[in-house]
């Protein structure tokens, strides 16, 4: 199991019984704490499995070293600090077929963070798009 703080079973999740409940009910944990992480849930499919293996954990593994990918039966659970980006033009090269951001969205099951598309790129970011940062339109 990954030792990253972004791992599925990290932090309090690694605790059990009374040790878990003590931290869970601790006074400081009775309010939300701002988080700079993002979570992405990808439904397993032929294309998504390639994107996980050969793109995110392959050619782009150094893009964001906080990225954790875990196998949760029918889906891949991804968590990273900051952002996760997928360039679908590059994915199309790997897959050897046409693959747009809309093809990618077919198998994106959930996002926690601000997700958006621009051109061939899918991004999920901790930035507050539309508030702190303007959402861009495609430029001609």
């Amino acid at each position: 199991m990954s030792k990253s703080s972004n791992a599925y079973g990290a932090g309090i999740m690694a605790k059990t019984g009374k040790e878990f409940s003590d931290e869970y009910f601790a006074e400081e944990n009775q309010v939300f704490h701002e988080s700079n992480e993002v979570v992405l849930v990808l439904k397993k499919s032929d294309e998504i499995n390639v994107i996980v293996d050969e793109y995110l954990l392959g050619d782009h593994v150094d893009d964001n070293q906080t990225l954790v990918v875990e196998d949760r039966a029918g889906y891949w659970w991804l968590k990273a600090t900051g952002k996760i980006e997928v360039d679908c033009a590059e994915v199309a090269e790997i897959l050897g077929k046409s693959f747009s951001v809309y093809d990618f969205l077919v198998d994106v099951s959930s996002t926690i963070g601000r997700a958006y598309t621009l051109g061939d790129t899918f991004t999920i970011t901790s930035e507050l798009m539309g508030l702190d940062t303007k959402l861009k339109d495609l430029q001609s």
């Binding site: 944990n29 747009s100 996002t111 601000r114 508030l131």
Partner: protein, 527 residues
Amino acid sequence: MAISTATKAATDALAANRAPVSVNAQEVHRWLQSFTWDFEKNRTKYPTKYKMANDTKEQFKLIAKEYARMESVKDERQFGSLQDVLARVDAAKRVHPKWNETMKVVSNFLEVGEYNAIAATGMLWDSATAPEQKNGYLAQTLDEIRHTNQCGYVNYYFSKNGQDPAGHNDARRTRTIGPLWKGMKRVFSDGFISGDAVECSINLQLVGEACFTNPLIVAVTEWAAANGDEITPTVFLSIETDELRHMANGYQTVVSIANDEAASKYLNTDLNNAFWTQQKYFTPVLGMAFEYGSHFKVEPWVKTWNRWVYEDWGGIWIGRLGKYGVQSPASLRDAKKDAYWAHHDLFLIAYALWPTGFFRLTLPTAEEAEWFEFNYPGWHEHYGKIYEEWRARGCEDPNSGFIPLMWFIENNHPIYIDRVSQVPFCPSLCKGASTLRVHELNGKKHSFSDDWGERMWLTEPERYECQNIFEQYEGRELSDVIAELHGVRSDGKTLIAQPHTDKDGKLWTLDDIKKLNCVFADPLKSL
């Protein structure tokens, strides 16, 4: 064959000036913006106390053609799997019997939420004035229609291909008997479509979808897979591929009102009310479905809740909005207590009232009891001993003449229904955040289980007039109610609901229930 002059002219013109073979969908989206539709002065049938900005964006740059193509690919993959490989490998019969029962409830109740979300997003389309925001809401309306069909299909698929179809095949008429139904209508119907349009968006999109669909539609697939169910992941993960756009719609609703003065006055109260409304039902019901409706456990429900609700939704969605004045809901402390205990409280009552269900329930086995005690220290002393007593009295066997509801009456543990959430609770037994408080209005008594619902009722009592099951059936004998509401199998006498899933166990009939002479009584009348 000769061609017309017009066709020839068109063909010649195209030969001279080739039309583009394809246009990038995002270029089309940009081009659509040049239409500069102005909805700013449009009147809406669904006004809001907030002012929604006129320049709000839609994050995925959807156009109709790509939207339709995406959804058709999703459907092809989903139905292809269900009708081809999953049918061939007899997947529905490989599901653990306990989980088969859980999906009777989960898929059918989610269907209701999806159905009401059609109306909710149609309403939001009418209220918004930004063209892109309207575009996002409109796509969501179409998504919700798809989801309604998908949920119905899951129950249809299980009833056609699986085991014990009773309940899967007629949930739409039998689901109304028991106490879980009206609470579900409160969160999935009233919460989504009644009141201020933006408040409905906060209920549906910012809380219901961005927060609770992750355990309800994503995490559930892991529990399903662990219990041999490949059908639910195939459908629910496909449903969830639309939910990310809905979450974005909810976020953009907040963006659209962020600069409105009304936001600073109302938003935190509306968010707290929506959070409490949604969690009050989802937290115990999902926890109960996962932990008591499965044989193979994935992780304690409180951990699932802590991850998806507290850490990720709380930290990544709500926490990040702190600098815009959005605060942690004041009800969070009680919600956390509920996430630890309320599903255990609810199962105690659900099992006691098992004849009113449209599914079979089972008591925890000895192995499961160990798991509960390990993960929830104190569980055995409080709950486990009660189950041992019920089992010793033969609660699973119709010859025993005992249903656990009788134990509640014998031991003076009255069950009340919270007026606002419609969730049942037993103040003398619960370890969650519920305590009894009673108000009287116009000669009628109302029970409440918590500060937050009580406060909502005091503000708008006219909004929460739904009869609870004790009022609705008062004076009626239990087997009569079950028969009237079609809670029996095709033989006309055996109950759909049963207190076990043992294929060799005896099944309870209407006659077995009639012998008990259980008559509904409103506990508030005796106060």
